[in-house]
Symmetry: C2
């Protein structure tokens, strides 16, 4: 048996030096072909060993008929072949000394019948030989840094920028193809679908991510925890070092019922799940949108010292509705210091309160960008403010350099948590503005409520960290 | 005094034959100039009368120094001049026989001081002369059909497609510049910011929209109702004919406090608001995202006969989490008829349940599009199904014609409510796919949960309509 420590070393799954690909190498259509094509497309720099008894070549590379033909050592393997062939392949990999196998094939335990038996065989091989397995029934992993991925389907993309958020799920549908990850600037450390969990489970992944220096936040979708106690400990290990954000299916009775038939896992564990939330300090996400968007604040912003938020907006009406969201997210509206109030009132007698409605001020200012920056700076410096959400108009290209200049200046002095809401009529302008702000380390949201909610999550995690440190 | 019926005739605000523009005509910078430029940019075909004592010409058009100089009748006026000048201008307009004035200028009651007095004068003029006023402190209206708009700012757009949803708010921030309305296919009947409500209020607008044949759904943001009983009656008048979706600021104490200072309106009315929700059958929106997205289902889809939903997805895991959302939205998971179950099982022994997870079937189908269409058709035809949400992969361009062909076929037989969730890596592909589905009358969402929530709203409104008809 491996120790818990060894078991959490999943490095071979995410950054292998070499990989064997098992699957049909039929040009254009074979899933093994797709794997090889995608590994090349994303610039994977390790050595690729295509394995197939039916083809001797793929994309100009020599294919071997079995893994035994390969002389060099191989670190990882991807398998997408019919279920009856999989245990044999994994056995050969174990014999060859492969450390990590990702089984993308489906129709195992989740399909019932013989699939259950094949999955059991895989479990036995893992236990007996020490080879580690992710899957089966998974799209596996993606690492933007190394270009290593196990997705065999057509992907109209060839890179994703590297970031600090690990997105892990028990479904492939929230993986690489789920979102315009590159175009919309998601800071991905890695993606991982744990599938049927015949060996590697959610707890192993959490232990790995707890140790991973480059992971700044973990967003995880689970249907159930395989081992409640192990999950609790792994979650705790993450939370002491970085935020853990969880989304879980099966809250409703109908949902729980459907879950059982999905990944062949026992439904329920609501108690374990609630315990993790309460005892350990993991944070509950309430939608897939939050799953993708909320962790972004942890990628580049400092944790707030408290939960006092300032809201800056050009619209009084929008300000009012987001106050409700702030309160629901556990934030309180900051009471500005008298120095701040005075400074703001000098800019306009109508300023001084929170939310700061700068609409009327900017519309009459000689240089609205100077005033805008002065307002944001003043609010950020206030000792009674822990975090700031600002809503800015990104209506046309000419605004971009002005807003970027403002935030370049702010970045140097920023020690407080800040999120930005952008609005405007043109997707291209919003995207470019978002991209430039993200590059400066300011997460931009197209929904003001999300920008505020994210601060709420940051403040809650900050409090949890402070409590753990006591 | 006008009768309630007369008061709800707001036609002159939304489709005037002619409009006077009061405001600075300084080239490039004047807000009156901006109005004239934008009216032309959006193709407003009525007659425009620029009015300014300081300029005799704007964009090649003759300007008059006062409205009295204009010989022809004028139906509407837009005013963006300093507050002290506004009552005089509106008085002249009333004398000239102008029916509707939109006052975009700010610094009235919401700013305190003299502004309160000026607003009082406007109220008096409206009452005395019968001229109708929207505002002050508003960005006014936008009608995509006539190109009539009252926004003076730079807009990088020249048209918005006409649709059936009236979006009305008590803030300009959710208006024309808030969203990529054209690029993201929002079906706008009209936009209206009611501002400080010195005359026209939320109830007048509701009465107008209740009668408007082209309005299929009303999304409304209010901070307070000026007259509780009137609002209740107006809301009822809408709900008997079309859905009314409401979002309200000031739920939290901090929110209510901020509201008071925003539009100079008394906070609260939570009782009135709750009464409207419960007695009248208006539906409560819980976020701005819902405000924009949910009404889209009412634009082109039939109302469901009940709340039994079928969920079709390529991902079991995604299916499980949206079941929870369905249940929270008041839907129940449809139990398929034995005929449906049998038909689905013929396609695959793993099909037959709800959600329909077609992932494993499609991945091995000879022609996945034929199978996909057969599954959707079978489910739509089931007598135990009232509405359907389907999640489809829109990963690359080559998929678009196949999916469009499927839905062209489905459109001819579609009598049930259907929404679509699209996912993929490329914004351009998602946008084009959405555009084509919208053109066929199928609302496409980039968030599965929103697609399901929208069906929940449709089912709730359907039940309300049925109860009202009894």
């Amino acid at each position: 048996m491996m120790s818990q420590r060894d078991r959490s070393d999943l490095k071979a799954f995410f950054e292998p030096d070499s990989v064997a690909v098992f699957g049909s190498l039929r040009e254009g259509f074979g899933l093994g072909y797709g794997m090889v094509r995608n590994l090349r497309q994303f610039g994977y720099s390790g050595k690729i060993y295509p394995i197939s008894p039916f083809h001797s070549e793929v994309m100009g590379m020599k294919a071997c008929s079995s893994v035994d033909e390969v002389v060099e050592p191989i670190e990882a393997a991807i398998v997408i072949t019919p279920p009856p062939t999989v245990p044999g392949i994994v056995g050969q990999c174990a014999h060859k000394g492969v450390k990590a196998v990702i089984i993308v094939s489906e129709n195992f335990a989740e399909a019932g019948g013989d699939g259950v038996r094949y999955q059991k065989q895989l479990e036995d091989i893992a236990r007996r030989t020490g080879i580690r397995i992710i899957g089966p029934n998974t799209v596996g992993v993606f690492n933007p840094e190394t270009g290593f991925l196990t997705n065999p389907y057509i992907l109209v993309q060839d890179k994703i920028r590297k970031g600090g958020v690990a997105y892990c799920s028990q479904t492939g549908s929230v993986g690489l193809a789920a979102k315009p990850l590159e175009e919309r600037f998601y800071p991905v450390r890695l993606l991982c679908d744990i599938g049927n969990k015949c060996d590697v489970d959610e707890s192993d992944v959490l232990n790995y991510l707890a140790d991973d220096q480059h992971t700044k936040a973990v967003a995880m979708h689970i249907e159930n925890a395989k081992d409640g106690r192990k999950f609790l400990e792994a979650a705790q290990s993450v939370v002491t070092r970085k935020p853990l954000l969880l989304i879980k299916g099966g809250k409703s009775e109908a949902g729980a019922e459907a879950m059982t038939s999905h990944t062949a896992s026992l439904a329920g564990n609501e108690q374990v799940y609630d315990a993790v939330m309460k005892q350990v300090g993991a944070l509950r996400l309430s939608s897939w949108e939050e799953y993708w968007e909320v962790p972004r604040v942890f990628n580049s912003q400092p944790l707030p010292g408290g939960n006092r938020v300032a809201i800056i907006t050009g619209s009084g009406g929008l300000g009012v509705t987001v106050i409700d969201v702030a309160v629901e997210s556990g934030l309180v509206m900051a009471k500005f210091s008298s120095a701040t109030r005075e400074k703001l009132r000098k800019l306009s007698p109508r300023l001084g309160g929170n939310p700061v409605d700068f609409g009327p001020v900017l519309s009459v200012a000689d240089d609205p960008f100077v005033v805008q920056r002065e307002i944001i700076e003043t609010v950020l410096k206030d000792e009674n403010v822990d975090c700031v959400a600002a809503s800015l108009y990104a209506g046309f290209d000419a605004l971009i350099p002005h807003i970027v200049a403002t935030f370049q200046g702010l970045r140097e002095q920023a020690t407080k948590t800040m999120t930005i809401h952008l609005y405007g009529m043109k997707c291209a302008v919003l995207d470019e503005m978002s991209r430039q702000l993200e590059a400066l380390g300011f997460p931009a949201y197209l929904d003001f409520e999300l920008a505020v909610k994210s601060l709420g999550f940051a403040a809650r995690y900050s409090r949890i960290r402070a409590e753990l440190a006591q």
